[in-house]
């Protein structure tokens, strides 16, 4: 199933760097998250509009050189799923119906 991804509204997340980690306070949920690389970098690469995985991968590559192979794509997809489970990113199916 093809998914599109996008960031949460910037007004909703408050970030605070803490040494090599990033703290995120989610104003909409009241939850605090402590994220280590590559999660904050990945979050940074998500846009305000819906985008597919290849676009996000390309942006990641241009900033951090993750590599374009299948393994990289799979890893990024897994990390994105984690971010969505934490509620820090959103996704929907590419045919524009609502997904989890």
């Amino acid at each position: 199933m093809m998914l599109d991804y996008r960031a949460r509204a910037t007004t909703e997340l408050r970030t605070h760097p803490l040494d090599e980690f990033t703290l995120i306070y989610d104003r909409a949920s009241g939850q605090t998250h402590l994220l280590g690389a590559p999660m904050p970098e990945l979050l940074d690469c998500l846009g305000a509009d819906w985008e597919s995985l290849p676009i996000i991968l390309a942006r990641l590559n241009s900033r951090f050189e993750v590599g374009g192979n299948d393994d990289a794509a799979q890893a990024v997809r897994a990390h994105l799923a984690e971010l969505i489970m934490l509620g820090l990113a959103e996704c929907r199916t590419a045919d524009h119906s609502d997904a989890a």
């Binding site: 949920s29 009241g30 939850q31 609502d98 989890a100």
Partner: protein, 331 residues
Amino acid sequence: MSVAIQQMVALLRDPACAPAVSDTDWTDILTAARAETLLATLGHRLREQSLPLGVSRVLNDAMARAKQGHIVARWEMRCAARALAGLGIPVVLMKGSAYLALDHSAALGRQIGDLDIMVPRESLDAVEAALLGAGWEWVKDDPYDQAYYRQWMHELPPLIHTERDRMIDVHHTILPLTARPRPDAGGMLGRALPVADGLMVFDPLDRLIHCAAHLFADGDLAGGLRNLWDFHCLMCDGVDEAALLARAEAQGLRSATARCIRLSTHIYGKQSARLTLTDRLFLRRLTARNGWGQETRPFTRLVFYIRSHWLRMPPLMLMRHLWIKWRKAKA
């Protein structure tokens, strides 16, 4: 009524009484209000009044706590909506969550605990599977409790989300199947109105009837002053009383609804209401709280505690249920 409760309802009814309250009285009023989970609501009612500093501090804390609770409650609604979106069924918010989703005055200062939703009875299995798949798990693992809930209650056994540590109660009707009135759940679902995130709420009349059912036909009335305040706020929407009672009649809940109308008018309304003898007994139970926050009137409370079980379960079932619970406790 204790002086503290009397003064508390007077302030809710007419905030302009505030300047007349003495320091000693404030102490007892705030304590009683907190015990009745009406403290933050009182704070909202008194927003325009000039209050002693110590009183404002306590009220502001309560309102801030309620506000943070609303943030968490809204998020919980969003998460449940997401988990159930794919099922294509009506998911109806109940009680505090519904008032919050509607931005209704009943939500001001209201503490919102578990998320209560109602779904069609035939969708229960699908709803259960979707929630378990999205990170919720059972609170009561015991097979007896599980069986009891499924067979007799009006809800699935309670579920809790592992990471967020919040509970969800999934109902399929508004009263236990073992209780005497048999409301028309299908009708209520059919009349439900959409709110945000693909969720729904009961229509204005069903909302009131559910409030009355919850208060009088189901519980032992603990926290009744809070529920009656909800009812009062909902009535202030300009509801047609005759239409309300007609709908309640069709649900088998006319007597509970009429009692709610009389008592909420008597306690919070601007005009007086004619109370029956039974109403006065209910009133006694509802106002059994003093300025130290203690529950008073132990005999009245015991009568209503027994009554609440009586209403939920026919006597033989109650005996069996208590017997099993006693045996388990002894083991």
